[in-house]
Amino acid sequence: MTPADELLRLAADLRAEARPGLTFMEVCGTHTMSIARYGLRELLPAGMRLVSGPGCPVCVTAMADLDRVVELARLPGVTLATFGDLIRVPASRTTLAAERAGGADVRVVYSPRDAVQIAADEPDRQVVFAGIGFETTAPTIAASLLEARARDLTNFSVLSMHKTMPLPLKALLELGETPISGFLLPGHVSVITGTACYEFLARDYGVAGVVAGFEPHDILRALLRLVRQAAPAIEIEYGRAVRPEGNVVAQRLLEQVFEPSDADWRGLGVIPGSGLALRPEYADADAALRFPVRLEPPLEPADCRCGEVLRGVTDPADCALFGVRCTPEDPVGACMVSSEGACAARYRYRGLDD
């Protein structure tokens, strides 16, 4: 059976077995991209909805945090190292890309280890890594911070804006704005966390969850598992990568370097305990403490509905700005900038994914 035949067979099973009116939420930007890219909505049973959730790390970063990153990048002597997703995201009054064009030293790195190497190569620069990402990414920042410390690189620090995944799902269910029959749970977050942290979804809210991989087959297989559950439960479809207990080494590293903190989510507001702050033992490498900056009040872009899109309440195409005043080339909101944002994914594959 070719991969295409296999996809069609899975889609046929879904159509045969799904009861009407199901809405599933994917909470990982990479799932959002995969669903759009392979046109999976075309294959779904009539009436089944897939909505995006708060799973794109750049998109859920609050405006005040983006403003702080910009202010750090502007400081003399500071080299701001970041993943590429962040540099075009509009802060209140500018972007990192605009600041870079204006002379700020902003460097895109593939790995936080590359930022540590910059600190080693350029001892007269203060290298600040913009720590954005969920449980998948945070251990790589923790490991890099320890590497910098082992190499006595006192000019490396981290601005931790990391967030953790389970609590926003709880916040969404508590809000109750979107009827969610089940979650496609994030594959690479779950590689680290395992599945115990999601059990409350089924136990306390009666909502199912299946950890899914990122190939189109993975996503349809995970949907089929959600449809077939007799009682809500948490399952793993992505068994080739995800163990129920997660990556224990990475969990220990997270525990060693970070502690839970309150985090501000675009669209959801402050969720207590949903962020990761550096522990006091690592205060010397905490860029927020090392470089205190004064921030102007944040400004949200007028008419941007990114916050509602991130809660699954508003479809990207229902935003008046979508594709008119807001495009990946000239984005108004974060969800159109990041390659994994729901708006960017929908726009890039428009015609295939609507």
């Binding site: 750049v58 993943f83 590429g84 969920f134 990414t137 251990p139 690479h188 900038v337 390659s339």
Partner: protein, 83 residues
Amino acid sequence: MCLALPMRITAVDGVLATIASAGLEQRASLMLVPDARVGDYVLVHAGFAISVLDEAEAGETLDLLREIGAFAPDDGDEADDAG
């Protein structure tokens, strides 16, 4: 942002591994998967291996990825490389 690709370890030097996939070779840290060995398929995220894959399943996925064109050359824009 949570993008991670399956790649095969071809050499190990301390905590660093040389990893390869589809003709692409790079270095990755094994700090998060200390039990990984030469020949293992690992998922690589932001320069770190984060999970050791079952070899048969990873091989199947790689075949699938090639067949559906997931390694198409139009995927290299800056926004896609974000870990």
